[in-house]
Symmetry: C3
Amino acid sequence: MKVSINLTDLATQIGAKLEGASNGDEPILGITTLTLASKQEVSFFSNSLYREQLAKTSAAAVILASKNRHFCKVPKLVMDNPYLGYALTARLFNPPPRYLPGIHPTAWVSTDAIFDESTVSIGPQAVIEAGAILGCDVVIGPSCVIGQGVKIGNNSQLIANVTLCAGTQLGQRIIIHPGAVIGSDGFGNANDAGKWVKVPQLGGVIIHDAVEIGANTTIDKGALEDTVIGVGVKLDNQIQIGHNVQIGEHTAIAGCVGIAGSTCIGRYCMIGGGVGIAGHLELVDHVHVTGGSIVLQSIREPGVYSSGTPLELNQRWHRNYHRFKHLDEMARRLQTIEKKKD
Amino acid sequence: MKVSINLTDLATQIGAKLEGASNGDEPILGITTLTLASKQEVSFFSNSLYREQLAKTSAAAVILASKNRHFCKVPKLVMDNPYLGYALTARLFNPPPRYLPGIHPTAWVSTDAIFDESTVSIGPQAVIEAGAILGCDVVIGPSCVIGQGVKIGNNSQLIANVTLCAGTQLGQRIIIHPGAVIGSDGFGNANDAGKWVKVPQLGGVIIHDAVEIGANTTIDKGALEDTVIGVGVKLDNQIQIGHNVQIGEHTAIAGCVGIAGSTCIGRYCMIGGGVGIAGHLELVDHVHVTGGSIVLQSIREPGVYSSGTPLELNQRWHRNYHRFKHLDEMARRLQTIEKKKD
Amino acid sequence: MKVSINLTDLATQIGAKLEGASNGDEPILGITTLTLASKQEVSFFSNSLYREQLAKTSAAAVILASKNRHFCKVPKLVMDNPYLGYALTARLFNPPPRYLPGIHPTAWVSTDAIFDESTVSIGPQAVIEAGAILGCDVVIGPSCVIGQGVKIGNNSQLIANVTLCAGTQLGQRIIIHPGAVIGSDGFGNANDAGKWVKVPQLGGVIIHDAVEIGANTTIDKGALEDTVIGVGVKLDNQIQIGHNVQIGEHTAIAGCVGIAGSTCIGRYCMIGGGVGIAGHLELVDHVHVTGGSIVLQSIREPGVYSSGTPLELNQRWHRNYHRFKHLDEMARRLQTIEKKKD
């Protein structure tokens, strides 16, 4: 299916103001980068790194903010949030693929699973265990494993090779990428004279509507209560979320983040790549932690937070690295000198 | 199956002393949090964060340490290690599920695999390659892949979608969570004038008894000798263990830890979440590395070790971050001033 | 199949000079460590940690550099790069296993997939979707999922449980270990008044020849253009590579590294374990980043780079950790004192 739309209609659809077009009737066939765009494609400008490409683009039009209009020689689609304009345009030209409903002959589906075969699509080699309940238009990709009693809301999609452990509950319009594991046991061990005794993990995982979960991300079920991922949360790849964690609505978390058990993260937070967050902490709404930071204490105020030291040439780094061991001593020596001066 | 036990018997089973109960005959149906517990459930108190909930609980009884008795108005199950009491109680009420023995019709099992069909359970879409040997009561969950010549000891369980590469050896009572990969090639490459030549990985992986391995954790096989995980080791999710690593008995490792090749970790160690440990190091017994630390040198003495810098508001962090580049120079300038004073 | 070769021929094959052998006719059956080697096996010495074992070895011969000849009492295979000699010898004695061509009866292969059944091997429970094109001698291990339109070049091998999402393109002689996910959606979200709107990921992933990809590593497809992994790149386990990343030829990346979107890494780089690299950066050729470092800015010059602070006993670390918050203030106070002295 190939979508075509003219510039005037595109402007309307994405909420932009068309400027500098000769008539607006030109058919547009897609969106791509400033460099690659042909005269039948639009592009967008939302990162000042690409100013040079903006000046040279052959695009039919460029989605951009008002303040950047004068850098652009081709027609403009002016809007406050050009990156959103890009997203909306890309969605317009690339609607998600439609899946034919039905159960693939190599899938194994328990007779005790509940779903409407006329809307649900179950791919090759998938497994649907007893008691699973799938909503309308759910897509279960190849090799997915849906454990006992799992619930999946309408229009949710598991791309491939996703494992939902027994009892996991998913809302509607959820997307889960390959290799993700949801609802595995939390890491609970009681120490008995040096040996570890496993603590049964009796809680569940609740994933609310419109969540997206990246490849090889893992979310453990709760120990006694549930692990809860709020509406609209976006999780990148290779994230680890411990038992009883709660993540507030519309928070976005980049790749390789680890969140230890029982930590509660607020709404509208942004957690950068590779961040580590200790257990039993609380982060309020609108906290932004930059990539690579380690969070060992609760964050009570909104704001942008960071930790870490700069990258340097190894030889130079090595000298500073060793001095760090004596930072407290240096501070005391500085104090001593200051006192002597008085 | 629903378990019921009275308070007096529960106390005996977990090694606690029952105090403050009117008769001890009350049937108990489970264990949950202080807040959620009904009069037919017990709870536990092992983290001082929850003191307020302890005062308000309606639980039939609370497992707690002697020193906290006076904060609790309901009957008490007093013992030195209440978290262990919680674990034991939770196990009592939630015995692991029983699996029906047999081979699922969609599983593929080599005729050269060796096991007792009357006790082993093999789930849907699983693969058991030639020469695999499974002990009694082994459970292979859906979509697991058991490579050639793998050995699995009695009562071990692979939840789902676990990959055991050829030659991997597991002991008894092992639990492996979904997405884990055991016995993949170590990262061995020899440099030949800029290009990399793969070093065949000829060793194996030996996982001893009572080990638990988390979701999406990876353990590489050895280059020439074996990678060895000791008895009772507990590994959380998304851990990477390089070739030839050895981990001593009863060591516990939290999520997102990476351990580079040939490193040897002692017994009874605790490695916090997100820790990175370089290769060819040795950590003695009873070492505790706190979350987010980077270990670049061997640790020869037991103790608690840490690295890293504090999280701060980005603007403030930025100033300190840049000063770090001049730490060595600062130390020299401080010395100069101190000398001048003399 | 058991390989046997005499010392003289082995020396020729690996480009070493045989020294100290009585006749060179001795049949050699394998290569192992200095400690384990019998009189029918060779060993190698490339890490000075093992000098003691070199003195005591019973190996038939030891591959070593000229400068270490005098530490060795047994015959020597002298060459500049003994670790390469080890790799070549190990390959000689352990040629990769041969796979019987054919489609396993439990695999599901679309009738619209294109490949030569007389050379390709497809394992149990694998899935090959429509439009996939597999080259000669391709091996698809058990439970792999090959998405629509995927292309795989000659002699490439997917060990087991690998997911290649729709459109992924692999070159020749590629090895991918279990749990790896290639071509999943990049993490693209536009913010619309607090809520996230998914940006369709329309690019692809191109993996060039002779790349090796470790267990549970993830590589996202591009947003508009492609994610590209260059010839001969070696990726360890649990690496996350974001959308539009480019990695130059013969770069090696150790486990647990995360590379955020649109970053471009040069050729012949070495990235240590656990390194995090922010998005939209450029690293030139021949950059070496040591393990555990965080890279927040582009690297314009070749060299060895590091970041981070030393591991210390927790109590001592804690004091220095807190002082870091006042580093900028300390620097100012030092300046004040210096000025007063003038």
